[in-house]
C-alpha cells in the first residue's frame, strides 16, 4: 500500500525557477544562444572581411588549373590538371601512407610487444629500450632525422648502394627496384585475386558450418591461401606467363626503368611505422598480460596444440583488450601522416596548403581537409567498432 501511494504520489509543486526541468531548458537555451551568437559574430566578421579583401567564395576554383607540380603521384597528374585533381592526388597519397603504416606498424608492434614478454632477458630489454626511445621523442623529429639521413647521408645515384645482385639501389633520390613490365594480363590477375578473396571467404564460412554440423575440421587457412594465390597464378600461366622485368639502370645523372620509392615517402613511412609500433607494442603487451595464466593451462589440459590454443583461446580474449586502444592508434597514424607537409611529401594537407596560398580561399580548403580527415577517421572507427562488436564477449 505504502509503495503504491509513493508511486502514485502527485508531483510536488515547486516554483518554476526551482523546477529542474524548466531550469534545464533555460540553461540550455542560454548556452545554445551564446554559442549561436558567437557563431553569428564570427560568420558576419568573416563575410565582412572576405568582401573587404575581395576574396571569392564557393568551390568553383576546384575546376580551375592548379599549375603546381606534385612530385609523387599515384594517378596521372600534371600542372595542367585541376585543383580538384591535385587535392585528390593528396588524398590518395595520404591513404597510401596511412594504409601501409597501419599494416607495417601492427606487424612490427606485435613483434616488439611479444618480444618484451620474452623469457630471454636481453631480447626483452632491447624491446623495452626501443619502446622508450621512440615513444619519448616527437614524431616530427624522427621524420626530420630520417629525411635528412636519406637525403644527405645516402650517396647520389652514381655511387648508389646496390643490393641483391644489383637489382635494388639505394640513393638520395630514393630506393630503386625492378618491377614486372606492364602486361594486359595484370588486369585479369587483379580480377582473379578479388575472386580468390571472395572464394576464400565463402570457403571459410562453409568450413565453419561443416565443423559445427559434423565436427569435422576443415583446413581453412591453407585452402584459402591456396585459392587466393592459386587463381591469379593460373591466370598468369594462362596468359603465357609474361616474365619480363623492367630493371633500374643508371642513365646519365639518374636511374631509368624499374620503379622508385621517393625519399620523402620512405622517411615518412619509416618514421610513422617506427614511432607508432612503439605504442602498438605496449598495447599488445598489455593485452597479453591481461590474460589469466589459467587460460593457457586450461587450453593445454584440453589437449589443444600451442597454435590451436593461441588461435582459439588466447588470441580471441587478448583481442578484446587490444582492439579499442588499437583503433585510436590507427586513427593516430592517419592523422599523423599529415606531418608529411614538414618534409615535403605531397599528402592532402600539403596539396591543400598550396591551394590556399594560390587561391586565398582558406575557408573552403580547410573545410575540405576537415571533411576528408573526418570521413577517413569515422570510417576507420566504424570498421573497428564493428570488428570490436564481433569479437566482444557475448554475455546474457
Amino acid at each position: 500500500m505504502a509503495v503504491e501511494s509513493l508511486g502514485s504520489a502527485p508531483r510536488v509543486k515547486v516554483a518554476p525557477w526551482n523546477d529542474p526541468v524548466i531550469r534545464g531548458w533555460v540553461f540550455q537555451i542560454v548556452v545554445v544562444g551564446l554559442v549561436g551568437f558567437l557563431a553569428w559574430y564570427l560568420v558576419s566578421n568573416t563575410i565582412d572581411n572576405l568582401q573587404r579583401q575581395k576574396i571569392a567564395s564557393g568551390f568553383h576554383y576546384l575546376e580551375r588549373e592548379a599549375g603546381f607540380e606534385i612530385g609523387d603521384t599515384m594517378i596521372e597528374y600534371s600542372p595542367a590538371s585541376t585543383y580538384a585533381r591535385a587535392i585528390w592526388v593528396g588524398i590518395l597519397n595520404t591513404l597510401r601512407v596511412a594504409v601501409l603504416g597501419i599494416l607495417l606498424s601492427t606487424l612490427l608492434g606485435t613483434i616488439i610487444g611479444v618480444g618484451r614478454l620474452s623469457p630471454n632477458w636481453l631480447l626483452s630489454r632491447i624491446c623495452s629500450w626501443y619502446v622508450e626511445a621512440f615513444r619519448n621523442v616527437p614524431l616530427l623529429l624522427w621524420l626530420f632525422l630520417f629525411y635528412k639521413l636519406i637525403s644527405e647521408a645516402f650517396p647520389g645515384p652514381r655511387q648508389a648502394i646496390s643490393l641483391l645482385w644489383s637489382s635494388v639501389f639505394l640513393s638520395n633520390r630514393g630506393v630503386y627496384f625492378p618491377v614486372p613490365m606492364a602486361d594486359p594480363i595484370h588486369k585479369w590477375m587483379g580480377v582473379a585475386l578479388l575472386v580468390g578473396i571472395l572464394g576464400a571467404w565463402m570457403l571459410a564460412r562453409w568450413g565453419k558450418k561443416r565443423q559445427e554440423a559434423t565436427g569435422q575440421p576443415f583446413p581453412t587457412v591453407s585452402a584459402s591461401l591456396g585459392v587466393i594465390i592459386g587463381l591469379p597464378a593460373i591466370v598468369w600461366l594462362a596468359g603465357g606467363a609474361p616474365h619480363h622485368m623492367s630493371w633500374p639502370e643508371l642513365k646519365g645523372f639518374n636511374f631509368a626503368g624499374g620503379t622508385v620509392i621517393q625519399p620523402e615517402f620512405t622517411a615518412l613511412l619509416v618514421g610513422l611505422v617506427l614511432y607508432t609500433s612503439a605504442f602498438v607494442a605496449e598495447i599488445v603487451r598489455s593485452g597479453i598480460l591481461a590474460l589469466h595464466k589459467g587460460q593457457s593451462e586450461a587450453a593445454a589440459a584440453l589437449g589443444l596444440s600451442r597454435s590451436q590454443a593461441m588461435r582459439l583461446v588466447l588470441l580471441p580474449q587478448a583481442l578484446r583488450v587490444i582492439v579499442p586502444p588499437m583503433t585510436s592508434q590507427y586513427l593516430n597514424i592517419t592523422k599523423n601522416s599529415s606531418l608529411a607537409i614538414a618534409i615535403g611529401y605531397p599528402d592532402l594537407v600539403a596539396s591543400v596548403n598550396v591551394t590556399i596560398n594560390q587561391t586565398g580561399q582558406a575557408i573552403e580548403n580547410i573545410l575540405i581537409i576537415m571533411a576528408a580527415y573526418l570521413s577517413v577517421s569515422l570510417s576507420i572507427s566504424a570498421f573497428m567498432n564493428w570488428y570490436n562488436k564481433r569479437i566482444a564477449l557475448r554475455e546474457r
Binding site: D48, L141, L145, L331, A362
Partner: protein, 426 residues
C-alpha cells in the same frame, strides 16, 4: 651411525654452482633453451657491433672543439656544432645579452611543474604556485606586464561568484558578505568601465626591456605552449566532459559534436586554420599575435582529448556517489566540485600525465606555422652554411632533450599510479 649429527644441526647443502650468481642468472634468463641461447648470442653480436660503431662515431673520432664546419668534416660526430649553437637552440632569437631571462623562465616553469608533482601541494597551494610561477615566467619573457583595470574587476567578479556557489551553505555570514562585496565591486566597476566613467588604466610592471613573442624561441616556447595549453585546456576539458555526460540534450549534442570534430582532424589542420582563418573571423583591423593563435589552437585541441580522459574518470565512479550527493541536498556545482570531480580526477591523473607527454611532443608541430619552438630552433641551427651537413648531431641532441623531459614524466606517472592505487591493491 654414532657420529651422525642430529638432523636439525645439519647445514643445508649450498645450491649447485650453476644455479646461483651470475652463471645461474645467465642460464635462467639468457640460455634457458637452444633457441634462447642462439638468440642471445646473435643479439650480443648485434649490440656490440652497433655500440662499437656508435661509440667510434660519437666519442672516439668526434670533434668537440672545431670552430667551423669544415674543420669538423671527415671525422666522427661534430659535437662542436652543438657547442657553437646550443644557446640558439635553447633560446632562439631572444636578445643574446638577455638570455638569462628565458633561462630563469625555464627554471621557474620546471620548478612549478616539479612542485605540482608533489602530492602534498595538491590543495590551495597549487593555485599560489601557479599564480606566482606564471607571473615570474611571463615577466621574465615579456620584460613588462600591464594589468588592465578591467581584468582586475573581472577577476574580482569571478572570484565572488565561484566562492558563493561553492560555499553557499558552509560559509559564515561574514565570508558570504565578502563574496557579495567582490561581486558588487566587479559588476559596478565593469559597468562604469564600459560606460566610460572609469578611465583606461593599468598597472604597469616594467623592470626589463620589452621582448615581443616573435623573438621568443627554443625551450621556453615549447614549455609555455605545452604547460599553458594544458593548464587552460584542463578546466575547459572538464566542462566538455561534464557536458557530454549531462542529461540536457542540447548541451550534450554540442559537446559531443565539438569533441568528435576536434579528435577527428589532425592538429596541423587546426594550426593552419588558426593561422589563416582566425584573422578572417575577427573584425578587420584586429590582429592577434601569432604565438597566441598557436596557443589557442593547442588549447582547443588539448581540451577535446582531456575531456575524453576525464570522461573515463567520471564513468568509473559508482552511481551511488551521485545519488548520495543529491540526497545530501547539494546543488549541481557543489555536487560536481566537492564530491564527483575530486574522486574522478584522482583516477585519471596518470592518463592525464600521459596526455601531457603527448602534447609536449605535439607542440613541435607549431613549426609548420612558423613558430620557433625547440625543434624549430634545432632545425634552424642546421641552416647556417658554415655548419651545413651535420643533421644527425643536432637531431640526436634535440631528441635527447625531449627524451629527458618525456621519460621523466612517464616515470612519474608510473610512480603515481602505484601510489594512488595503494588503497585498492592487495
Amino acid at each position: 651411525m654414532t657420529d651422525a649429527m642430529p638432523v636439525g644441526d645439519r647445514k643445508p647443502l649450498p645450491p649447485p654452482v650453476d644455479e646461483t650468481g651470475v652463471v645461474g642468472w645467465a642460464r635462467k634468463n639468457l640460455f634457458s633453451s637452444w633457441g634462447n641461447g642462439i638468440t642471445t648470442i646473435v643479439l650480443i653480436a648485434a649490440v656490440v657491433w652497433i655500440l662499437n660503431w656508435f661509440l667510434e662515431w660519437a666519442l672516439f673520432t668526434a670533434n668537440f672543439t672545431a670552430t667551423t664546419g669544415s674543420e669538423c668534416r671527415g671525422g666522427g660526430a661534430c659535437w662542436a656544432l652543438i657547442r657553437e649553437k646550443f644557446r640558439y637552440i635553447f633560446f632562439g632569437s631572444f636578445p643574446y645579452q638577455q638570455h638569462w631571462r628565458p633561462l630563469f623562465a625555464v627554471i621557474t616553469m620546471l620548478a612549478m611543474l616539479v612542485l605540482s608533482a608533489d602530492r602534498r601541494m595538491w590543495n590551495w597551494r597549487l593555485l599560489v604556485i601557479w599564480g606566482v610561477g606564471s607571473f615570474i615566467t611571463f615577466l621574465l619573457m615579456f620584460g613588462q606586464i600591464h594589468i588592465p583595470l578591467s581584468l582586475i574587476l573581472f577577476v574580482a567578479l569571478a572570484g565572488g561568484v565561484i566562492g558563493l556557489t561553492l560555499r553557499s551553505a558552509l560559509a559564515p555570514s561574514s565570508e558570504r558578505m565578502a563574496y557579495y562585496a567582490l561581486i558588487g565591486i566587479g559588476v559596478v566597476g565593469l559597468a562604469l568601465r564600459i560606460a566610460g566613467v572609469l578611465p583606461k588604466w593599468s598597472i604597469a610592471i616594467a623592470p626589463l626591456s620589452y621582448v615581443e613573442t616573435s623573438l621568443w624561441g627554443g625551450l621556453p616556447v615549447t614549455l609555455i605552449l605545452a604547460t599553458y595549453g594544458l593548464a587552460f585546456a584542463f578546466p575547459y576539458g572538464i566542462l566538455l566532459a561534464l557536458g557530454r555526460r549531462s542529461n540536457l540534450p542540447l548541451i550534450k549534442g554540442l559537446c559531443v559534436g565539438f569533441i568528435e570534430l576536434i579528435r577527428g582532424v589532425p592538429l596541423i589542420s587546426l594550426l593552419i586554420m588558426a593561422s589563416v582563418m582566425l584573422p578572417l573571423f575577427l573584425p578587420s583591423g584586429t590582429t592577434i599575435d601569432k604565438f597566441l593563435r598557436a596557443q589557442v589552437a593547442v588549447i582547443l585541441f588539448a581540451g577535446a582529448y582531456i575531456a575524453e580522459v576525464i570522461r573515463g574518470g567520471l564513468q568509473s565512479l559508482p552511481k551511488g556517489q551521485f545519488e548520495a550527493a543529491d540526497a545530501m541536498g547539494l546543488n549541481y556545482p557543489q555536487k560536481t566540485l566537492l564530491i564527483i570531480l575530486p574522486q574522478a580526477l584522482r583516477v585519471v591523473i596518470p592518463p592525464l600525465i600521459n596526455t601531457f607527454i603527448g602534447f609536449f611532443k605535439d607542440t613541435s608541430l607549431v613549426l609548420i606555422i612558423g613558430i620557433f619552438d625547440f625543434l624549430n630552433t634545432a632545425n634552424q641551427a642546421l641552416v647556417d652554411p658554415n655548419w651545413a651537413g651535420f643533421p644527425g648531431e643536432v637531431y640526436l641532441f634535440a631528441a635527447f632533450v625531449y627524451f629527458i623531459f618525456c621519460f621523466s614524466m612517464s616515470r612519474y606517472s608510473k610512480y603515481l599510479e602505484f601510489e594512488l592505487n595503494k588503497g585498492t591493491r592487495r
